[in-house]
Symmetry: C2
Subunit: 225 residues, 2 copies
């Protein structure tokens, strides 16, 4: 592990987007200094954190490398690309342009089309403005997890790029996004039927310590089982 002092990562044990960043750093062998922002206690709106990231959002990554701007890096997909550019080995994107486009497209199906629908701010709107009770919220979560993962399953089955992982035989940004969704589904105790290929890829990811060590259950602040 290298560069321990260079990066500070503001995160929370349960969130899918910080899981992604954690896995990418693990795969690159880089350990940021991680700070918990307790979303359940509203710490993302504390004066101290708003000085670091005025948007009050995690993940936020501060780069203390020499001469680097102190504006935090935000948005998990942007941070994953930054990590890939800063630490090229092992590669988390394929070498050909079509392969990279496929990986980014698979990643976006999950990180852009699926995950934003089941975030805390959406839950807040639907439960306070739209009369959703716990059952309606859970049905909503299940609907979008199912829609996103069954669509991914169809692509993984039918497209020739699929290998041990979503694309080929080494993990990419697409696998990181896939695992981030499954990890959060487990936190919510939700199962999606009909996704054997997705779950085979997830099992391959979990064989790797980079993924296993990033699991929500193993982070500071996670409830004791």
């Amino acid at each position: 592990m290298t560069n321990t002092a260079r990066f500070e990562l503001f995160s929370f044990w349960r969130t899918s987007a910080t899981y992604r960043v954690r896995v990418a750093f693990n795969l690159k062998g880089v350990t940021p200094q991680e700070h918990t922002i307790n979303l359940d206690a509203g710490e993302q709106r504390s004066e101290a954190f708003l000085k670091i990231n005025p948007m009050g959002a995690i993940p936020a990554l501060v780069d203390h490398g020499p001469g680097q701007p102190q504006t935090p890096l935000t948005q998990s997909l942007a941070i994953l690309e930054f990590i890939e550019e800063s630490f090229p080995t092992p590669a988390l994107l394929p070498t050909d342009a079509h392969g990279r486009a496929r990986v980014r497209s698979l990643a976006a199906m999950l990180a852009a089309d699926t995950h934003p629908l089941i975030t805390p701010r959406v839950k807040k709107y639907l439960t306070t403005q739209s009369g959703f009770d716990d059952a309606a919220w859970r049905a909503w979560q299940i609907h979008w997890f199912t829609t996103g993962l069954q669509a991914l399953e169809q692509r993984l089955i039918n497209e020739p790029g699929t290998g041990t992982f979503c694309h080929g035989d080494t993990p990419t940004i697409a696998d990181i996004c896939l695992a981030s969704i499954i990890a959060v589904m487990r936190v919510f105790k939700i199962d999606v039927p009909g996704i054997p290929t997705v779950m085979r890829v997830m099992a391959a990811c979990e064989q790797l310590e980079a993924f296993a060590a990033a699991d929500p259950s193993r982070q500071v602040g996670a409830p004791k089982v």
Copy 2:
């Protein structure tokens, strides 16, 4: 304009995600052959289109370049990165890693955090499963457009990277995503207050023919005013 015969773009006049791809190609001086998939008529689920993209989603970009796979490229953010890699000039991403991360983060606030919440499939769920009437759907749209664009405004005001455009003085992927959201808001006749910097950047985009020519109102299939 070059490479006219290389790309086929499946699109619809109104959709934000195809607008993004259209602007990026325009900025690069590349003209794909564009085919309308009429979402109002359900053509995305037609047998003919499902043979091209089994996911039934647009934008879908087929690359007829020599030796290229015929699996269509999908997801607008992935397609924008592909266009940038394939046609590097003029650059739609900055040359420094932190700048690229900022541009991708601004883009994700709109294309990943905002737009997925106001898509037709979300409207379908909320109106058929959750009892949303027209007023409730419109309030939902306004809420998420306002949340996304006011958050963007705060970043554009406070972060040193902002210039004539979202980042510096030439258009990037962030401006393409910003303009795609404003263009769709106009289709829905929605205004968001308190975003003068966002609207200043939008005006700078509209000075460029690459953006103006991509406007929904100027596409095949748009209603006559």
